[in-house]
C-alpha cells in the first residue's frame, strides 16, 4: 500500500472517530438540546419544574380566550395525548392560530403554564390558499364520518 493511501485511510478513520465522539456527546446532552418539551413530557415530570422551560405542541381548537384587557390570552397546548393550560400576557405572533403549532416559554405554576414568550412553530408544508382550503374541506368530511364511532 502506498503511503498516500495509508494517509487517506488514516484521515477517514480519524473523521469517523470524531463522528462517533460527537454522537456520544450529543446523546449525553440530549435533554439539553431539545428546544421544547411536549405536554406529555411535562405531565410525566420530565420538564424542569424549578426553572423556566418551553412547552411545544398545537394550540387546542376552541381553547383560545382573551381577557377584556386585550393583552392577556388563555389557551391550551396539546400533543393530542395531554394538554397544558397556558396564560400569556403580550402580543401573539401573526401565525398564532388554533390548531397550529406553538412554542411557549415560561414556568409551571399550579398546573397552569405562565408564559413570558410565545413563538409560532409552523410546519414544513407550503401550498397556495386554495389548495389548503380544499384539503381542509376534505378533512372535515372525513371527521364527520369518523365522529359517530367515537360516540360523541
Amino acid at each position: 500500500m502506498k503511503t498516500r493511501h495509508k494517509k487517506l485511510i488514516l484521515i477517514g478513520v480519524a473523521v469517523i472517530g470524531l463522528g462517533v465522539v460527537a454522537t456520544l456527546v450529543l446523546n449525553a446532552f440530549r435533554s439539553n438540546l431539545v428546544f421544547f418539551f411536549t405536554p406529555t413530557q411535562v405531565v410525566k415530570g420530565e420538564a424542569p419544574l424549578d426553572r423556566a422551560f418551553r412547552v411545544g405542541g398545537l394550540v387546542e381548537n376552541g381553547s383560545l380566550r382573551r381577557e377584556p384587557d386585550g393583552v392577556t390570552a388563555h389557551f391550551r397546548i396539546t400533543d393530542t395525548a395531554q394538554t397544558i393550560p397556558v396564560t400569556y400576557k403580550g402580543l401573539l405572533p401573526d401565525l398564532f392560530k388554533e390548531g397550529k403549532g406553538v412554542v411557549a416559554q415560561g414556568r409551571l405554576n399550579n398546573s397552569e403554564f405562565v408564559a413570558d414568550q410565545v413563538l409560532a412553530k409552523h410546519d414544513e408544508n407550503y401550498m397556495p390558499p386554495e389548495a389548503a382550503s380544499a384539503l381542509e374541506k376534505a378533512q372535515k368530511t372525513q371527521k364527520t364520518l369518523v365522529l359517530p364511532q367515537e360516540g360523541k
Partner: protein, 248 residues
C-alpha cells in the same frame, strides 16, 4: 514532473489556471440566467402560501443559501483530505478558495432566516439546534480563514486549515438532521430524498432553479478565487513570468 501522468494534469497549477479561466465566464453566465429565471418564478409565478402569505418567499434565497453553505463545507473538507493525503498544492488552494463563498452563504442563510423569523415565529433568533449548529458552521468558516491567514508559511497554513476543515465536517450532518433528532422551532425538511416534497410544485421549481444558480455562482467564484491564489503563490514560477510577458 507533475505532468508525468495525465490524471494529474489538472493538479498542476499552470494547467488549472488556464482551464479555469476558460470555464469561469460560462459559470457566471449560467448563474445569472438561473438567478433571473428562479427569481421570476419565485416572485411572480409562485402563488402565496396559505399560512405565511408572502413571507414564505424568503425560501427562494434562504434554502439555496443554506443548502450550499453545508455542501461547500463538505467539498472543502474533501479537498483538505485529498491535500493532506496526496500533498497536492491545488487541493489546498481549492479548499481556501471555497471558504469565503461558504461563509458568505452561511451568513445569508442566517440573516434571511432572522428576517423571516421575526414576523413568522415572533423572534429574530432562538437557540434551537438548527440555528445554533448553523451559527457554528459560520464560525468554522471564519476560523478556517483566520487560521490560514495567521500563518505565514503557506504549506503550514494549508495543513492547519485542513485540520479545522476536517474536524468541523462532523457539524454538517448535525445541522442537516437537527430538525429530525431534536425538537426544534425550525420546521422539518420540506424536500428530502426519502419522501415526496411537501410543497406546491411551482414553489419547488423556483427553489430548485435558485439552488442551481447558487451552484453555478459558487463554482465561478471559487474558480476565480483559486486563480488569484495560484498567481499569488506561484509568482516566482516561470510560467507566470512568461504569461505576464506575453500579456504585456
Amino acid at each position: 514532473m507533475i505532468n508525468r501522468f495525465n490524471k494529474y494534469r489538472y493538479a498542476s497549477p499552470a494547467t488549472f489556471y488556464h482551464f479555469a479561466g476558460r470555464l469561469i465566464p460560462w459559470f457566471y453566465g449560467a448563474a445569472a440566467l438561473f438567478c433571473v429565471a428562479g427569481l421570476y418564478i419565485g416572485l411572480f409565478l409562485a402563488p402565496t402560501d396559505f399560512q405565511q402569505s408572502e413571507a414564505y418567499r424568503i425560501i427562494f434565497i434562504h434554502v439555496p443559501a443554506a443548502w450550499m453553505s453545508m455542501f461547500i463545507y463538505v467539498v472543502m473538507a474533501c479537498w483538505a483530505a485529498l491535500g493532506l493525503a496526496f500533498n497536492t498544492r491545488m487541493s489546498f488552494m481549492m479548499a481556501s478558495a471555497l471558504a469565503p463563498t461558504g461563509a458568505m452563504l452561511t451568513f445569508v442563510s442566517l440573516w434571511t432566516g432572522a428576517l423571516w423569523g421575526k414576523p413568522t415565529w415572533g423572534a429574530w433568533w432562538v437557540w434551537d439546534a438548527r440555528l445554533t449548529s448553523e451559527l457554528i458552521l459560520f464560525f468554522l468558516y471564519l476560523g478556517f480563514m483566520a487560521l490560514q491567514s495567521a500563518i505565514d508559511d503557506p504549506r503550514r497554513a494549508d495543513r492547519a486549515g485542513a485540520l479545522i476543515a476536517l474536524v468541523g465536517v462532523v457539524n454538517v450532518p448535525i445541522i442537516y438532521f437537527s430538525v429530525r433528532w431534536w425538537n426544534t422551532l425550525h420546521q422539518g425538511a420540506s424536500v428530502s430524498m426519502t419522501k415526496a416534497p411537501s410543497m406546491a410544485s411551482i414553489m419547488l421549481v423556483g427553489m430548485l432553479v435558485m439552488a442551481l444558480a447558487a451552484w453555478m455562482y459558487t463554482i465561478a467564484a471559487a474558480l476565480s478565487r483559486a486563480r488569484c491564489i495560484i498567481l499569488e503563490r506561484e509568482r516566482n514560477a516561470q510560467w507566470v513570468a512568461q504569461m505576464l510577458e506575453a500579456d504585456a
